[in-house]
Structure formats: structure tokens, C-alpha cells
Homo-oligomer: 325 residues x 2
Amino acid sequence: MEPQIDVVGIGNAIVDVISTVTAGFIDDHGLVKGAMTLIDADRATSLYELMPPGIESSGGSAANTVVGLVSLGGRAAYVGKVRDDQLGAVFVHDLRAAGVAFDVVPGTDGPPTARCLIQVTPDAERTMNTFLGKSVDLAPDDVDEEVVASAAVTYCEGYLWDAEVAKAAMRRAMDIAHAGGRKVSLTLSDSFCVDRHRDEWLDLLTDRVDLVFANEAEICSLFRTDDFAAASRWIRDMVEVSALTRSASGSVVVAGDDTWMVPAAEVDRVVDATGAGDLYAAGFLYGISHGADPEQCARLGGLAAAEVISHIGARPRQSLSSLIH
Amino acid sequence: MEPQIDVVGIGNAIVDVISTVTAGFIDDHGLVKGAMTLIDADRATSLYELMPPGIESSGGSAANTVVGLVSLGGRAAYVGKVRDDQLGAVFVHDLRAAGVAFDVVPGTDGPPTARCLIQVTPDAERTMNTFLGKSVDLAPDDVDEEVVASAAVTYCEGYLWDAEVAKAAMRRAMDIAHAGGRKVSLTLSDSFCVDRHRDEWLDLLTDRVDLVFANEAEICSLFRTDDFAAASRWIRDMVEVSALTRSASGSVVVAGDDTWMVPAAEVDRVVDATGAGDLYAAGFLYGISHGADPEQCARLGGLAAAEVISHIGARPRQSLSSLIH
């Protein structure tokens, strides 16, 4: 059967709290610049108290990706877990209002909706501190078989691997996708996240993933190397298609014996790097589902990423489809 | 005794939910463009469902003003009421993190924290729809006598006049201020708001207000006239100092026999008019409390307003003090 939608994204359902800070703020409070650090409820409270005034904007890596995909003209669904609280309502609203199908029932007990405290420094780098809250209670039962089977690609967020029950949900989604002859994609999410799950992911990539997204730090971390060329050789043998991003240097796609190197799209001024990788994946997946070749896919990824880093927040501010047509 | 702070602001404690919409959205959903319309909880839910994805940013007219004042280098406190919910926590955080003293205890029952659903159209005009929620439960007991007595100016938001108990709180604050030899300032807030309270406000302005802020539509509505010159003559006789704003045409200050006409500050591109009046008041009040003459006060108001309309959201994104020094 033909897929009804292009991509179903599975990830941590998170609301971002974004503040602009000085470079000194990162050092003064022992934050890990440029990384995603997991924090507990107490740390979330104490760190928030230290932060300057902020804005709240729906986030979550895979959620950003499916919103970007719909903005490009694609069809998408999302699987993730919020609480029935105010931030949960914001997350649900923003996803549905963007045109993403999202029907997972919000939890009625347990921790509040996840939030990510993001500090944007003057160099436009973002430092993320995530309180996972309710998002890690995503259970296998929350994965709707019909939704996953209807999607050409099931796109999974590496971040979700930090919780056992959510991991089980993701494995179930991968099984459903492959049973239906669909493709499975994984983003490695963060180099520290790779470090936490290296062995499992090496098996997972070999056995269950058809398309992997990773930036330079992540793919190097996966193979415990500083040599990007070596890492891209190794991943080539494990996964059908690998899209490897290198920030301002663009991206490299390796598939079978082929390699494409694609420059980054031009940006007038980089304001906030939050969501760059998520939107690259959005563009790439849009290309995949519309029959583009890998080079075109990488260019679409670069265009979508360029839009999102030109302003604060990880969701597109303008119709991405108008940028590519 | 010398005042310990420059301004205490009293107003509706509100979190803004801001979406960019097409011009057609305003017409299609029967919204009153450029105005502030009060909505109930059901309408807030149904209108939110219709809105595109948004961002959340702390707002509230007087709260925006005191944040602007602190950003300019002044000292400020705030009096307003939130619930002990997630949006209330956001509001409290953003105010305190901005350096505003804010000690009113959040309510533990009743409606949720107020929110304002704001649609920004391509012409940068904002249309506001406010669900007042907990903010109207501000009671006379929430007004700390010591805080009000310590402020050179007590700045009241006309919007707050829509609720009886909040009105009583504001009258109490005015009494405390005048008993301590301090000044009282009122912003007329919105022409429809003026229409609802015209008779009361004509008395209030005559008897209890030393400094009034109004835009052209508001001051004309107050005197039921289309003639701005006539309205400015009438207000001159009622209030010691009147700062009357005229959008891109700048502002007019009338005080006793004197009149100052001050052009607006230049803006590269107006993105979102939300907060323009609030930040004008911030600049003007900063001037007042730092011994500036009315023309300088109006210029400071224009500079602060210019910053806030150059981006989305009603709070300054950069230190306003760096703009004026």
C-alpha cells in the first residue's frame, strides 16, 4: 500500500525556554556549551531562577523536524508524550496548528511536560539543559500501529533512548515500519547521547536503521575517533544512507559507493543555532519523500536549516515551501 | 523621605501568546484589529485552536513598562496577580529576572494565569484578545503600602479598571501614593477601554492623576471627539502632565501652558507593534525620575518604543540603557 504520509517523527515532546545570555553565564554556572545535558526537576528550577527573562517556544528535536517537513509541503505525524498541563497544551497546539497529525493522549499524572532550558550565547551557539518530565513516559502503547504503518519513513530521535520505556516504544515503531516495508531513520542527536548508547546504537544502526543523521561530533563519537573521513567510511558500511552535517561547511551524504559533498546555504546572520540539525533532517526527508537525489536532499536540508538559524527558536517562522519554489 | 524606587507598576499580570497571521485571519474570525478585546475562557480556548503556532512571552502593559524602566537603568516594582500555575511561574520568573521587585503571592485557587492571544499581521499591527483569568483577582490587600510609598511614581494601567476588586486595589495604591507625597500616573490603555470607563476616568484624571499617557485614539475617545487638538486642550486643563502618542508621528507633551512636539525615533523595520505604548511610558518615566525635561522624556520614550517594535514581543531584547548612553 502506498504510504499516506511522508514521515512520522518519534521523540521527546518538549517546550523550549530560550534566553539570550553572555558567554560568561555558561562558565559561571558550569554548563556544557553546545551540548544537551539532562537535568532533574530541582536543577531545572534552580537553573531557571538564574536565567534572564526568556520566551517559550515548542521544541523537541523530532517535533521540530516534522513541523519543518510540513512547512515544506510534506505530510507528517508525531508520536510523543506531554502532561495535561499548560505547557503540554502549548506543545499540542503548536504541533497541530502547524499541520502535524498528533493524537497521543496527554498523561494525567506523573511529572509535568518536559522543558528544555536553552541559553543562546552571542556566538549564536545554543546550550541545552533538558528536564525530560513526562516525555520519557512514552510507552509502546502510545505508538499507533496504523500511523506508523502509513508513513514512508519513521524518524526516531536518539535523545529518546535515555528512557527504557520510551526505548521500547521506539523499537516497536521500528518493527511496525519494517514489517510494512517502510524505512527507518535515526538521528544520533548529540555526541554525549552517542557516548551513553554507543554499543546499542552500533547494533541498532546495523540491524534496523536505513537512514542516519549525525553531525561531525556525533559520528566521530560513535566510532571513538577524531577522523571524520574514517567515521564516514565506517558508517557507509553499516547504513544504506548517511547524512552527515558539518555546520557552516555543509554536509556529506554517503550511500553505498557514492559520496555527495554539499555546501551550506548562505545565511545573512546566524542568530540562534537551535534546531539546525532538526531542520536539516526536515529538508532531507522532504527530498527523500519527493524523489529527490541525495545531493538535492542535502541542499533542501541546508535551506531549511538556514531559515531556522536566522532567528530565535527551533521552528520555522516562514513557510519553508516558499523558500524552495 | 526620598523615594527608594522610581516606579511601581500596577496592572494585569499576563502571558502573551503571539502568532503571526495573515490579514485575512483577523476578518475571518471577527477580531477587532489593533484593539484589546476581552474574551472569556471558552473563547480563549476556541480562538487559540484557530491560531497558527505561536511563542509565549511575558506581557501585561504595566509589567512591560517596569521591565523597560529597569532596562534603562531605573528601579522598579510591580503589583499584579497570577495563579500558581506554569504560565504564572513564567511571568514571575521573567519579571524578577529582569530586575523588577515583585512580591505579590500567586493565587492558589480560581482561574488560571491571564493570557493574551495576540495576532500580528503583516503590517506589524497587533490585535489582542485577553482572557483576564487570575489577574482581575488583584485585591487591595495585594498592594503593599511600603512598596507604593517607596516609589516616586505609581503607574496604573487602565486595563485593570475592568474588574471591581482590582479597581479598588488601584484606588488604594493611588491613595497611598498621594498620602506619601508621590505622583500618580495612569495610562488610558485602549480606546475601547476608555469607552467603558469614560465618566469615571474623567473624574479620576481630574482628582487623582498627575501624569497621563494616551495615544491619539484614546484621548479622542475620552472626550468623544475626532479633534486631537481639542482633546489635547481639554486634557491640559485636567492633568499636570499629559504624554500623547501618535504612532509614527511621534508624541506631544502638554503641561500647563507648555507644549512639546517630539518626532518618533527611527526604526529600520517595524515587526510587531506590541508594547510600543508600554515602552514609550518606560522611557518617559525614566526621564521623569532622572530629572529630564518633558522633551527629553518624550525622546527617551520614543527610543524605548523603537526597540520593542523592531522585534516580536513586548519586552526589550537588548539593554535599553545601551541605546541611550
